[in-house]
């Protein structure tokens, strides 16, 4: 069995490995949840890489319908062709546009399907995909054809928890909640991404980063992806370590904080804290 393990670029905890391998072995979808920026979407890319599969991404939006993943019937083109007297109009199959799942089902070798941010869609969206994900087949009403998967694809579904997913849908999935990595894991992740980062810079940046996460009342706590962006900026700017250093008494707004704090209220909060600290000292 081809297993999924931490790669050079992606540090996966053991529980994540087990969950992914279980989903791959039993050919059931894996539902991944977690704080934004903890690597849910990246996971799919890494699993696809590790298993040597092509990745088909289906990004869900608030307007996405389940049907769009299967196929769409382009009635407007057909109507237009009909009015222009095009010959194509007689065969309805010409106006069936395959969706992402169709593409995955028709593939010659097993592929990995990423259904990204499933919670963004309408509340009925997951319910409409129950049978399709269970049996890996669906029926095209217009052409009276059943499309069945040649190879059951590996399905990874991510959710940001904006909507509750229906029970029937959850029953068919494996579930993994990506926790925010602890410092040790975070160090590994940073090492994996920037092997040539200066040790002292990484250490100080990490201090600042975890300090920021500790600040109560932040609207959006910075997560892994923010840290990585910020480190990259720090490396490009080649800042001295001293710029990052802050002691207990003094709270400074970290340089290039735009990469970490994504919300003007949070920046304000920091400015206030810094101001109070200056006045107190």
């Amino acid at each position: 069995m081809a297993g999924f393990k931490s790669t050079e670029k992606y540090i996966a905890s053991r529980d994540l490995e087990v969950a992914v391998n279980a989903a791959v072995t039993l050919q059931r979808p894996l539902l991944v949840k977690g704080e934004p920026g903890t690597g849910k979407t990246v996971l799919a890319h890494e699993v696809a890489g590790a298993l040597g599969m092509n990745l088909i991404e289906w990004h869900v939006k608030s307007t996405t319908k389940a049907q769009q993943g299967l196929y769409e019937y382009d009635a407007v083109s057909r109507l237009r062709d009909g009015q222009l007297g095009d010959e194509r109009v007689h065969d309805i199959a010409n106006y069936i546009v395959p969706g992402k799942l169709w593409e995955a089902f028709e593939a010659d070798k097993p592929v990995l399907v990423l259904i990204d941010e499933v919670d963004k869609a309408d509340i009925e969206f997951p319910n409409d995909l129950l049978l399709e994900l269970d049996k890996m087949q669906f029926f095209v009403y217009e052409t009276r054809k059943t499309i069945a998967a040649r190879h059951r694809p590996v399905v990874i579904i991510t959710s940001n928890n904006e909507k509750e997913l229906p029970d029937a849908f959850l029953r068919r999935c494996f579930f993994h909640y990506i926790r925010f990595p602890d410092r040790e894991t975070m160090e590994k992740i940073v090492q994996a991404h920037y092997p040539d980062i200066r040790k002292d810079l990484a250490r100080e940046a990490m201090n600042v980063f975890f300090q920021i996460r500790e600040v109560p009342g932040l609207k959006k706590k910075p997560a892994t992806s923010e840290l990585l962006d910020w480190l990259k900026l720090l490396m490009v700017e080649d800042l001295p370590v001293e710029a990052l250093r802050s002691n207990e008494k003094q709270v400074v707004i970290p340089p290039l904080h735009g990469a970490l704090l994504k919300n003007e209220q949070d920046v304000h909060l920091f400015e206030r804290l810094a101001f109070l600290a200056r006045r107190g000292s």
């Binding site: 087990v18 969950a19 279980a22 237009r80 928890n161």
Partner: protein, 392 residues
């Protein structure tokens, strides 16, 4: 197999079903979690738990069901019972050796030698069902999975990390039956939004399109319907003063954060119990009160009434005219509450005190009866139930 785990989970209130149980079995059969307890824990978690709110409960049930698997924290050779060591000595050493050692230093010498043996074996012995080695099935030694296993002095254990994983209970703050914290607020907000959002966004008006296309002699004429607007109106009555102030602040923040989702959101304050007067401004509450009748007249029955209060007071404040602690009320509190809940088609009472303790306070039971059981705790779960109740 493992049915006691499933049953335990169901008893703890997790919606675990037979489908998941079978999935776990299938995964075990496929060898996903080979022979590692830790992997089994992770696998069981991925299969049986589908929501991070339940992770903490799962950890607790798992710890309970597999209590035997826990290796006891570091039993030292020194702590082992003497009789057992004696038996061990007989098994590990030849009678000749024992006799020799006995002549040298008696029982203590034998024990010394045994400790040495044990220590040596710890390094070398792997697998097998013999005495101490590692990864074996014998009741003693480390890395083994005998339920009654005793671990002999070893600093690191493969199992212990796993036990620690579920005993650490990392997911405690994701449990939704605890009171609202910062994260809880976020989730609660989403629940409120869900109840506020009615109808979908911009849509193609199909019947109208067909009609006008036909009118247009077949050439396409698309008609759209405008986006449906939010129609939920909320009237919030908040108990202020004393112990309620923190909760009131929380509730106010919660509702104003969800404000954009409501068509109208109106606040009124009261103290202990809504009587004939309420007020909008806490600082000027004695000068600027508004008759409750006026509120009833201004906001029609289509508003959803949410009263937030701990409902802990003297029963007289509910039942008797003049029972209020602040002023003389002509009509009893219960009359006013019935009037309010009768006027508004949908109403609920949010109580920030833990649900467990409600039965102990007489006035809470009375208010809950007056609200016909529509009193909900101020937790994510409670808000969820409330929104469901209010949007029915």
């Amino acid at each position: 197999m493992f049915s006691h785990l499933i049953l335990g989970l169901r008893t703890a209130g997790l919606p675990t079903s037979i489908t998941e149980h079978l999935a776990l079995m299938a995964a075990m059969q496929a060898g996903v979690a080979d022979y590692s307890v830790e992997d089994f824990y992770y696998l069981a978690r991925a299969t049986l738990v589908k929501d991070e709110r339940h992770l903490d409960k799962f950890d607790r049930v798992f710890a309970h069901c597999f209590k035997g698997l826990e290796p006891p924290a570091g039993v030292k050779v020194e702590d082992l019972p003497v009789e057992w060591l004696k038996q061990m000595a007989e098994k590990l050493m030849t009678p000749d050796e024992i006799a020799k050692l006995e002549s040298l230093g008696g029982f203590d010498a034998i024990m010394e030698r045994l400790k040495q043996l044990l220590a040596e074996q710890k390094e070398r012995h792997e697998g097998g069902s013999k005495w101490i080695g590692t990864a074996g099935t014998s009741p003693f030694g480390a890395h083994g999975y005998n339920p009654e296993g005793v671990r002999i002095g070893q600093d690191k254990s493969r199992n212990r990390t796993a036990v620690k994983v579920w005993d650490r209970r990392d997911f405690r703050d994701l449990d939704d039956t605890v009171e609202l914290g910062t994260r809880g607020m976020k989730v609660a907000l989403r629940r409120l939004r869900r109840f506020a959002r009615q109808g979908a966004a911009t849509e193609l008006d199909l019947p109208d399109t067909i009609k006008s296309t036909a009118n247009n002699a077949g050439s396409l004429d698309i008609k759209m319907v405008p986006e449906r607007h939010n129609t939920v109106k909320v009237l919030l009555f908040l108990d202020v003063g004393g112990s309620m102030d923190d909760y009131v602040k929380l509730t106010e923040e919660l509702f104003s954060a969800a404000r954009s989702e409501f068509k109208h959101l109106e606040y009124y304050y009261f103290h202990n119990f809504p009587y004939e007067r309420v007020w909008k401004n806490n600082r000027r509450r004695h000068e600027e009160t508004i008759p409750t009748w006026q509120v009833l007249r201004t906001y029609g029955p289509d508003y959803k009434l949410i009263i937030v209060g701990d409902a802990a007071m003297s029963p007289y404040e509910v039942t008797m005219p003049g029972g209020s602690v602040e002023h003389w009320n002509e009509e009893a509190g219960s009359v006013w509450l019935e009037r309010l809940s009768g006027h508004y088609r949908r109403s609920a009472w949010l109580n920030p005190t833990p649900k467990k303790s409600w039965g102990q306070v007489r006035s809470i039971t009375m208010v809950n009866d007056l609200m016909e059981g529509r009193m909900f705790p101020l937790t994510v779960n409670g808000i969820d139930d409330m929104t469901r109740e209010l949007s029915r």
